[in-house]
């Protein structure tokens, strides 16, 4: 029994190929019946996230399954085999498990630690179960994956730190206000950066949005898009009274607001906290403003520094996470290995039972008439002899099953008890015969 994972991601394939695969690979409704129709594939999971397309399957015939997965990826005429030859990667067994863990824990992502990926894998798993594509092994693997991803998140804190400027601004805002709901935003200037930050703020459910721009026309357009109000820059002083978050990106040559102006405004605002983000270059806001009580001013460099620090922290957390993932994938493989001894144990028992029954039958025909009690006693005796004889080999299989030597030991036991009579014997033994 083998695990096999095939796919392309942002590291191996350009965005063009990923887009193609995302768009052209058939929907789950079609994909699962298609994949399950291959006789080599016992269980299968198929998932796409922003940066990857991957298929994970359980198979007994790894080589054939590999070919099947390649055909699956090239199932659309627009995807050429040459494209795939370079970018398709294949992982087996422990590598496949580790890869899945890393994907779900967001260690394999473009931005390490981004949380959306786990949700996408969960959704894909839900789809797979709907199509009855998963079985005991993938079910266990996926549940393990979710718990590993959760542990990585809580134990390493990998997603705790915002790694983009607008996220960092939102995170800071939350540490000041607790909740950005119903907080009023004042936007100075209508640049692209400001728009991006405003988008992030809007997803947090901020209240009123006011846009003050030098040219009212552009301000109006932006205001329409965000459902806000456009005012002229001259109204800045009065607008400052109603705002909680001020986002400035005009890049004007002189300061738009001085320390004195903000100080006066704070008195009129009854000291309600004010979070000011200055992403203009050169700066729009007097850096002295940050010295005022209840005003928190961050400029673009401050935010970038926060982001850089957070990237570093994520890197540290990732090292810790990799260790956790490696340990967990090893544990999963152990479980999978113990699973592989069961067929052997079952055939051992079946073989013993068959011998017992045959021998009893033979013996009974010699002995003539026996009472049912005597027959029963004979049966019990043969059964207990065989089960005592098999006890140690079975315990050996279950307990001593070793990750590396396991395969060889299993093969030895099967050969020792001749559990696969159809298999050709090894040449050396043939020579002896």
């Amino acid at each position: 029994m083998n695990l096999l994972l095939a796919g392309v991601n942002h590291q191996t394939a350009g965005v063009a190929l990923r887009e193609k695969l995302c768009a052209l690979l058939p929907e789950a409704e079609v994909s699962y019946p298609l994949l399950l129709a291959y006789p080599e594939i016992r269980e299968v999971l198929f998932y796409t996230t922003c940066n990857r397309v991957e298929v994970l399957c359980v198979t007994d015939a790894a080589t054939e399954a590999r070919a099947r997965l390649s055909t699956f990826f090239a199932s659309h005429p627009e995807v050429t085999a040459a494209d795939l030859a370079e970018s398709l990667y294949l992982h087996h067994d422990q590598d496949a498990v580790r890869h899945l863990f890393r994907v779900a824990a967001s260690l394999d992502a473009l931005v390490v630690g981004e949380p959306q990926i786990l949700g996408q894998v969960k959704e894909a798993y839900r789809q797979a179960t709907r199509h009855k594509a998963t079985g005991p092994i993938l079910n266990r693997l996926l549940h393990k994956t979710f718990s590993v991803a959760k542990r990585v998140r809580t134990e390493t804190g990998i997603g705790d730190h915002a790694v983009s400027v607008s996220y960092a601004a939102v995170a800071l805002g939350k540490k000041i206000f607790g909740d950005l709901k119903a907080k009023n935003v004042l936007l100075l200037g209508a640049g692209e950066m400001a728009e991006l930050a405003l988008e992030h703020l809007q997803t947090q459910g901020v209240g009123r949005i006011v846009i003050a721009n030098r040219t009212l026309e552009r301000g109006l357009r932006l205001a329409e898009r965000f459902g806000g109000k456009a005012v002229s820059l001259e109204e800045l002083q009065s607008q400052l009274l109603g705002a909680d978050i001020l986002l400035s990106s005009t890049g004007s040559a002189s300061y738009l607001l001085t320390r004195q102006q903000v100080k006066a405004a704070m008195r009129r605002r009854r000291q309600r906290p004010l979070f000011m983000i200055d992403i203009g270059v050169p700066r729009d806001l007097d850096p002295g403003i940050n010295d005022l009580d209840n005003v928190y001013l961050y400029n673009i460099d401050d935010l970038k520094e926060v982001v850089a620090e957070n990237r570093e922290r994520r890197k540290e957390a990732a090292v810790q996470a990799e260790r956790l993932v490696a340990a967990e994938s090893l544990k999963f493989m152990d479980w999978l290995q113990t699973l592989s001894v069961y067929p052997t144990i079952i055939s051992l028992r079946e073989k013993a039972q068959a011998i017992c029954q045959a021998e009893i039958k033979k013996t009974l025909s010699h002995l003539g008439d026996l009472t049912p009690e005597q027959v029963h006693a004979l049966e019990v005796m043969t059964e207990s002899i065989t089960s005592k004889l098999l006890h140690d080999p079975i315990v050996f299989l279950k307990r001593n099953h070793h990750r590396k030597r396991g395969e060889a030991e299993l093969a030895l036991v099967r050969r020792l008890f001749n559990l696969d009579p159809g298999q050709p014997e090894e040449p050396a033994e043939k020579g002896k015969e």
Binding site: K175, G178, R270, R272, D293, Y296
Partner: protein, 277 residues
Amino acid sequence: MADIFLSLTLLAYYSASALFIAYFLAQREAFCRVGAGVLAAGLACHTAALIVATWSLGRLPVATLGESLLVFSWTLVLAFLLLFWRFPIRVLGALATPLAALMVSGALILPGGKAAVSPLLSSTWVMVHVGLSFMGIAALTLAGLGGLFYLAQERQIKKKKFGFFYRRLPSLEQLDALNYWCLTIGFPLLTGGMIIGSLYAQYTLGRFFSFDPKEVLTLIAWMIYAVLLHERLTVGWRGRRAALLALCGFGVLLITFVGAGLWFGGYHSFTSFSGKP
């Protein structure tokens, strides 16, 4: 009987302290929930111990520093649990619970005053005076502890250096709201306690105010809180200044409680209660 309850109380408070500190460090919900449960159980034992003590003494046990610590820690835990129930600032437990645990330990270590107690103390008015004052001080203590957190958090955001506390502490607005609520609840209670105390003094001793060190210091603390509350309500003082003032007020109250009780003398001091000069 009271001893058994007190040992259980102490055990519960220290366990709850450990849990709340663990919650603060690891930020796991479970620690906080279990911690609150353990603390509530501790409070129940504490209540039982106080009832037994009051019953056997025939008065509220506030004649020695140890006894008052025992009563005050009870009000502090009660105030914290009420706050915990209404307010989502759970990390406060990492400060308030160990403080209560230390106070109970102090109560057990300090020698108990078994000497004759002035009959003035067994009046119901004293119970009300002490009860209201302690409830007020407990709320103001929480405001002071919250102030510590506020200052730590504000410093990190202002300096733009995010360290150990940044991730673990709640937002500035929540911490400031804590300051406001504790102040608006604690200040009237303290005021009420002081008024009743001075009325009782006028009735028994013939004067409202005796310039006793405890009275003077409490009045100073009261004035600090009065200024803070006034400025909050009129010009909207908040944030760092409010946190600093709350912390100052707490400091003065602490000196009043421990210092004045032990060293300064006066008719409020604990030594005077036990019949010694």
